[in-house]
């Protein structure tokens, strides 16, 4: 099969209207908002050194915050504001998706516009300012007929820079629930589908280039008084905007939204849920690539209707519990806590996706390591790798405390690369996930945890408050409960991380259903 005839291209292209449309929508809205704020600010600040310094300083600080973090910060911020407005004024708004993404991106877009507008205006020849005054212009007339037109090339350069930044950074708005071209990239990275990653990168790069070109046309048209150019550029931008409105108009508003976090298993399970709901005659769509804490808040706020979470994650991260009751007790108690927030814990799927310390079976046999107790003796000569959060999670603290673990080195890694790294001996031990398909593929061993330091991570189905009494939904989901064992889930995850026609999440979900539906 050649690279271009790969069926995944077609799969990727099918999502393009939705992803591209949402991407353009959020980018252009952010850019417009950024302009509306920063242009007047720059104009006001241009003659006041102190205000100018403060503004540029603030904008630069914003710029140093990584895009992903800035986007992520806006979500809890808006949640807090929404709860305040609900409390004070009796209304709230969705802090999920479009709004936080647009606000964060607008903030991100401000620096180049502020800086270039101030530079451009201050660069106008003082003799011309005097001439404008001398022919009888008011300061306002001078600004609009002389200063702004003369500063236009510099200002437009700033706008173009910020357009390119915003369009690029908007790919990072996927985890806070804003559909974007980043959906390709996040899904592709998680399922090792490089076609998707490439597709997402190329699409956002092309979009950025196109918008840049349209803006250049508008600028040159304005400067050289060529109406045709200005029109072409404006028509281009307008066409992009119009194109974005089509999918959002076509989108069914009354569907069940299935959430998924940012890893392959979640993509497969959300596809499975979507398929089951559709099979039951319900309209369903997925919202993929949501951040781990965002997704729970989104459910609580009814922005999504159903998703799969893990008992230990909720216990430790959401409710900050430090006690560690046995598996069944924890589940029962969790169900009660969730019920207080009107969230329904419908039941467990049957497998656990827990953290586990993992090493190659051969190596483990050779060293006689089969549990973490055995490992502790060898740890000072070994290296360990974990995902980005593992070493700051309570599990790691608990493990160190329970077994007195101390490794020679510890490093953080992209989860997808950990398994290959430990199989090849680059690291000795990894903190992997028990449902990971590559554990079987690479013949790895998950070490036993006799002291139960690691929390149980049962996969559980959660329903949004507004679906608490939705019998149709619950009926459609019941056949999934207690049906997926760890071996099946591992195999499904392995399939999803492959790179062939059977590996898109929807295809794996079909396979999974065939497997468990016949039991």
């Amino acid at each position: 099969m050649s690279f271009l005839s790969d069926p995944r291209w077609r799969d990727a292209a099918a999502h393009l209207p939705d992803y591209l449309g949402s991407h353009v929508q959020v980018s252009l809205a952010a850019l417009a908002l950024g302009l509306v704020i920063s242009l007047p600010l720059a104009i006001l600040a241009r003659n006041h050194a102190v205000i100018r310094g403060i503004l540029l300083g603030l904008a630069s600080v914003v710029q140093t915050v990584p895009g992903l973090a800035l986007l992520a910060l806006f979500y809890p911020l808006l949640l807090a504001i929404a709860s305040l407005t609900l409390h004070w004024f009796g209304f709230d708004f969705s802090a999920f998706g479009f709004l936080p993404a647009m606000l964060a991106l607008a903030l991100y877009s401000m620096l180049p516009v502020l800086r270039n507008t101030i530079t451009g205006l201050n660069g106008v020849d003082p003799a011309l300012l005097e001439a404008a005054q001398g022919v009888g212009m008011t300061p306002r007339q001078s600004l609009f007929t002389v200063e702004l037109p003369l500063a236009l090339p510099v200002i437009m350069a700033g706008i173009r820079t910020s357009a390119v930044w915003v369009i690029g950074t908007a790919t990072l708005s996927t985890p806070i629930g804003q559909t974007s071209l980043g959906n390709y990239i996040f899904a592709g990275l998680q399922t090792q589908n490089w076609v998707l990653v490439l597709f997402g990168c190329a699409a956002s790069a092309l979009l950025a280039l196109a918008v840049d070109q349209f803006l250049t046309l508008i600028e040159r048209g304005l400067r050289e008084r060529k109406r045709l150019r200005t029109m072409l550029g404006s028509v281009g931008i307008a066409a992009l905007v119009a194109a974005t409105l089509i999918p959002s108009m076509a989108r069914e508003p009354l569907t069940y939204v299935v959430g998924a976090k940012t890893f392959a298993e979640q993509y497969v399970l959300s596809a499975l849920i979507e398929q089951r709901l559709q099979a039951a005659g319900l309209q369903a769509s997925t919202r993929e690539g949501l951040g781990s804490s965002v997704i729970f808040q989104a459910l609580a706020a009814n922005n999504i209707d159903v998703y799969v979470d893990y008992s230990g994650t909720l216990w430790l991260n959401q409710f900050h519990r430090t006690d560690m009751p046995p598996r069944e007790t924890l589940l029962a108690e969790l169900k009660e806590i969730l019920a207080k927030q009107d969230i329904t814990l419908l039941g467990a799927l049957g497998f656990e996706n827990a953290y586990a310390l993992v090493m190659p079976r051969q190596r483990a046999d050779a060293l006689g390591i089969h549990s973490i107790t055995d490992l502790a003796a060898h740890a000072p000569t070994l290296s360990i790798a974990g995902d980005y959060e593992f070493f700051s999670r309570p599990e790691w603290t608990a493990l160190q405390k329970a077994y007195g673990l101390s490794f020679r080195t510890q490093r953080q890694m992209q989860p997808d690369f950990m398994y290959a790294a430990v199989a090849s001996g680059d690291v000795d031990v990894i903190a992997g996930y028990t449902s990971e398909g590559r554990i079987r593929e690479y013949d790895l061993e998950t070490l036993a945890d006799p002291k139960h330091a690691i929390a149980p991570y049962d996969a559980v189905l959660l329903l949004a408050p507004r679906r608490a009494h939705d019998a149709a939904l619950q009926e459609a989901l019941k056949p999934l409960l207690e049906r997926i064992d760890i071996a099946t889930m591992r195999e499904a995850n392995l399939r999803a991380s492959g790179s062939n026609a059977n590996s898109p999440p929807a295809a794996v979900a079909l396979w999974l259903w065939q497997k468990i539906g016949r039991q």
Binding site: A127, A131, A132, Q133, G134, V135, G136, T138
Partner: protein
């Protein structure tokens, strides 16, 4: 002179911040000067003598620290500066044209600010282009950088005249031009000054130009008017600085008379 002055400076002083040690620099020092209606006054002085500052005080591009300036009998402080400027023409050094506007739009700028109807503006621009001897069809749609220095200054004069002011303020208007163009433009402007019954105040550092164009000359040195009068009166003035300023044109005239016999007869 029987008529009340059109522009009058009475004990006007102006200082700027910016000397070292936060000292303020005196640009104009207790100047009293009257300009009669229909008069062509040249203010002559070295750079830094305060002549441009004095000019800017007339249309409130600057406000005096002391004394008062009256235009048409009114204290300029009681007049809205924007309206004041719209009824006085101002010609800037090397044109001061707006580089992003066509010749037409540059000339039309003040009439537009005054809200003239479009047809009237178009007719006025045509009239002015004829007046400053620019070809309508050739120059109307050009941008300033497509014109020669002399053409730019013609547009500058046309722009200043556009709203039919009685008063023209000119800040070294012909200073940046080559001698031939400068001479032609000066003569042409002088003709316009007469035919349109303008009152003109022109700042220049060139005594020859001042002598050839102006009815009356005020000489400034270090913020003060050290002498004023018609060329013949200045010639009798015994201020050493005035004598020094007159030395160059005198010597040039003698040299030219010697080199071009018969020239003086013309």
């Amino acid at each position: 002179m029987a008529l009340a002055p059109l522009i009058a400076y009475a004990h006007v002083g102006k200082r700027f911040a910016g000397g070292h040690d936060g000292e303020r620099i005196t640009a104009v020092d207790d100047v009293s000067l009257d300009i009669a209606a229909g008069e062509f006054l040249a203010i002559v002085g070295a750079s830094g003598s305060g002549k441009s500052t004095l000019l800017r005080l007339a249309n409130r591009l600057l406000d005096p620290d002391s004394g008062r300036v009256t235009v048409e009998g009114q204290d300029v402080r009681d007049v809205d500066p924007v309206h004041l400027r719209r009824r006085m023409g101002y010609v800037f050094q090397s044109g001061g044209l707006f580089p992003h506007m066509r010749v037409f739009d540059n000339i039309a700028v003040t009439p537009r600010l005054l809200g003239w109807p479009a047809a009237e503006i178009a007719a006025r621009v045509d009239e002015l282009l004829d007046l400053v001897r620019l070809e309508r069809s050739l120059h109307c749609d050009r941008l300033p950088h497509e014109l020669s220095g002399g053409q730019q200054q013609r547009v500058g004069v046309a722009r200043a005249l556009a709203a039919r002011p009685r008063i023209m303020l000119m800040d070294e208007p012909f200073g940046a031009l080559d001698p031939l163009t400068r001479d032609t433009l000066g003569e042409e402007y002088r003709a316009l000054h007469r035919s349109l019954a303008l009152t003109t105040v022109m700042v220049t550092h060139d005594m020859t130009e001042a002598l050839l164009l102006a009815d009356r000359i005020a000489v400034m040195q270090a913020g003060r008017v050290v002498a004023q009068g018609q060329p013949a009166e200045l010639s009798n003035n015994n201020d050493p600085y005035v004598a020094e300023l007159l030395r160059t044109p005198r010597r040039q005239a003698e040299r030219l008379n010697a080199l071009l016999p018969g020239a003086s007869a013309q």
